[in-house]
């Protein structure tokens, strides 16, 4: 018998702390597969943000540095500048990246730092018990928007991939979803492309992955999958918003 699906080598075989149906596990796997595919496990440095993805160092067999909340792109900038031959990526949630870390990611993208940002958008602060994030959908109930997000008070959900795609330093900006096999295939391609482009010194690469947090959506895992399709994708369209063709950072 031939094995047609196996765990990537970079993904350590252990029990994760993630809740049932949490897509952090899926995103970890896609990153591990991209690292295996490029054969760069010994040459990759991850920078974890603060949130449920913070235990990246327990789950990926690469060196991982932990950054203060939101500061992962700044820390990754420093690591990449002194080790330009390493593959450097950040792994950040939407509370981390789009709220407290908004400034770091925008300026890092604008400087065209040759790093990859993996952005897990689950529309809520997961780790701290489900507060509203800048990405929380209108009407979504969270502990800090108990009557649902209202744009009069809270503004509108921010589309990070499109926003960053306007910046000249950005080589690749895409949004994908991990809710079903067809979308997962595209998600895998996008993560692979981002790491490959970094390996070719093409500039800042960004992948936003629409993901489920069943616990703080107060839903079963299967209902959370449906919510990605029915509520998230209509507001957060999938696609590649910017893709630089030739390397101009050499």
């Amino acid at each position: 018998m031939k094995q047609v699906f196996k765990r990537p080598e970079t993904l350590i075989k252990t029990t994760t702390h993630f809740c049932p149906g949490c897509h952090h596990g899926t995103v970890h796997r896609l990153v591990a597969e991209a690292i295996d595919r490029l054969g760069v496990r010994e040459d990759t440095i991850g920078v974890a943000g603060v949130g449920c993805g913070v235990f990246l160092y327990d789950y990926l067999a690469v060196d991982v540095c932990e950054a203060p909340h939101g500061r992962a792109p700044a820390v990754a900038t420093g690591i990449k500048r002194v080790n330009p031959e390493k593959i450097v990526f950040t792994y950040q949630g939407d509370g981390d990246l789009a709220s407290i870390g908004m400034s770091e990611v925008v300026h890092t993208a604008n400087r065209g730092e040759n790093i990859t940002v993996i952005f897990v958008n689950n529309s809520v602060y997961g780790m701290t018990g489900g507060q509203m994030a800048p990405t929380t959908l209108l009407g979504q109930q969270t502990t800090t928007s108990p009557r649902g997000r209202d744009f009069h008070y809270d503004g509108y959900p921010i589309r990070m991939a499109e926003m960053l795609a306007t910046l000249e330093g950005v080589a690749f900006a895409a949004r994908v979803a991990v809710d079903k096999p067809a979308n997962l295939r595209k998600a895998k391609q996008a993560v692979n492309t981002a790491f490959e482009m970094q390996a070719k010194n093409m500039g800042f690469t960004f992948v936003e992955l629409l993901s489920a947090c069943p616990t703080n959506w107060y839903m079963t895992p299967l209902a959370a999958l449906r919510r990605i399709e029915e509520e998230m994708i209509p507001y957060y369209p999938l696609g590649i918003f910017r893709q630089r063709k030739a390397a101009d950072y050499l």
Binding site: M1, K2, Q3, V4, F5, K6, R7, L11, T15, T16, F18, C19, P20, G21, C22, H23, H24, G25, T26, R29, K180, P181, L184, P214, P221, L222, L225
Partner: protein, 74 residues
Amino acid sequence: MPKVVIDEARCKACAFCASVCPKKLIELGGPINQLGYQPAFFSPDREGECTSCALCAEMCPDVLIEVFREEKAS
């Protein structure tokens, strides 16, 4: 060896695998594991229907499923 091997001890019973199997070969409700969940299991008696498409494995957020395919005799 079965075509689909599930690490039942680590399964959190999210049911993603069962929901995508086109042949409905995966069920939930196995004997309770150490994490406190009733895990998914593959029905060995219906193994012949499994196409080794690996959709179940792709969907498992905890990456607990291994899929094998019979090699064609050349």
